[in-house]
Symmetry: C2
Subunit: 296 residues, 2 copies
């Protein structure tokens, strides 16, 4: 397995692979691997001839008061896992390699990032977009794998790819959860045993919301109130938002229909956690199939 | 010669060329070819095995009051010239192909575009950056040729390429001028004979400024005043700016030194014209070589 620290080495490796006629699968990560990453790498390994994993804790997506310095890093462990899983190359650049000069160009995703995580973390998605654009330009044409766990991030990456016409197929992979339902996250390492119990409220809230939609509830307010109620009852958990949105645009939908996404965020102790779940609200059947007594 | 209207066709053509081991030269244009474009295509043809020219009048870089609709278009003539010059492929997409959905992502180049043309044409360089990013993602790794004539645009493209790590080598080519010194521009077609005479003031102003720097003038104010004076004396010409800037950052430099760029913009009749010229201000010799009587 290759480990590249320089952009030109990683780029040459990918160009050679493509010229040789093999397809490239790419998993961009910030390291600190858990089962979520492993499931992404496993899918990527199954579906592509050449597999590239990047490991880079991207300073541009951390706010000044966030945990860039404290963010867990263990390149040896992560690279070892990559080797075991049959990854062909790891790209692990330094900050200086990725940002050799102060960044003056910024990306703005408009309404897609003005709410939810974007509201809570100003500049976060501009930083995500920036590093993903750079990484896509290093790797080139590929299939790129992202976790559903960071749903707004996935929407940003899809938008970036579509609107700048990157030659990349973006694939979202289902969130991996512990047996108790907690979505895996590198930040779970910050939680005490008690905090972890409180953290389970996020997934419970999502399940309650999605159950309501499945039972036919079509009022956004009713679903969001039910979700908020679950979070409010959990000791030690300070909710930020609990919403239902259009799955692609993340815009609010008053009468629930189509592909939806339920999203929650809350603080547990000093740790901010997010989670989300999909739901589908099919349109009501056409009036003509509703039987007798219905008038147009 | 191929003429591609679809992104996937143009992209496949370039991928195949690269996989076959040939290098790709790329000239992005808005059509309406004059000798300036021809000189870009000629350089590109000499320096690359495969030559791709794009012809696309990019709506995203025109303001609401600008000449997007009136902008000269003649694809048959332009494609004919490409064929004569041995171009391998022309990419001439429709607006719907390049912008299938409303654009929500925007690029901001900060201080690089807040002044000069950027001040006069809000949103212009965001639109330029957008279309160039898309075109680079269609063509892939290449050498890309741009005219020095649109100097701020060239600076934007260099910045975009560097900060998003596009696998592209950006090459600036010297402005082509008529025998009277007027920089070639598709918008010169809008000028009457009298207006054309007035338009010559732009280049005279640049020459006066660069002569002053060559003669040792190091005060920015003195150079800019001399340039403004030339423009003020021309009947029918309404100057917008006449400045000396750092050639790469386009920031003002009080004591002139290093690589500089003189830039002017003016309206002639209803037509806005721009021009620019390079100058080098070498540092004064070290004090120790200045002879007697000088103290540190």
């Amino acid at each position: 397995m290759h480990i590249f620290q320089r952009i030109d080495e990683a780029r040459s490796f990918c160009s050679r692979a493509r010229s040789g006629g093999t397809d490239i699968g790419f998993v961009p990560t910030m390291g600190a691997f858990h089962e979520g990453h492993i499931s992404l790498i496993r899918s990527c390994r199954e579906e592509n001839e050449t597999v590239m994993v990047s490991i880079f804790v991207n300073p541009a997506q951390f706010g000044p008061d966030e945990d860039f310095v404290a963010y867990p890093r263990d390149l040896d462990y992560d690279a070892g896992l990559c080797r075991e899983m049959g990854v062909d190359a790891v790209f692990a650049p330094s900050v200086a390699e990725m940002y050799p000069t102060p960044q003056t160009l910024s990306l703005d995703f408009g309404g897609l990032t003005s709410d939810l995580e974007g509201r809570h973390r100003p500049g976060h998605f501009a930083g995500v977009g920036l590093v993903i654009a750079k990484l896509f330009n290093v790797v080139g044409a590929c299939r790129a794998y992202f976790g559903d766990k960071d749903w707004q991030q996935l929407a940003v990456v899809r938008r970036l790819t579509a609107e700048l016409a990157f030659p990349v197929e973006v694939l979202g992979c289902e969130t991996v959860r512990d047996s108790d339902g907690l979505a895996l996250s590198s930040r779970n390492a910050y939680l005490s045993a008690t905090e972890r119990q409180s953290a389970l409220g996020l997934y419970r809230s999502l399940r309650v919301g999605s159950d309501k939609i499945e039972s036919g509830e079509r009022s956004r307010d009713a679903v969001e109130e039910a979700m908020a109620l679950v979070l409010a009852e959990v000791k030690g958990l300070s909710p930020d938002y609990a919403v239902v949105r259009d799955a692609a645009t993340l815009m609010p939908v008053d009468f629930l229909s189509g592909d939806l996404r339920l999203l929650v965020a809350a603080n547990v102790g000093g740790t901010r956690l997010i989670d989300n779940l999909g739901a589908r609200a099919d349109r009501p059947p056409p009036l003509s199939t509703l039987g007798e007594g219905v008038r147009a």
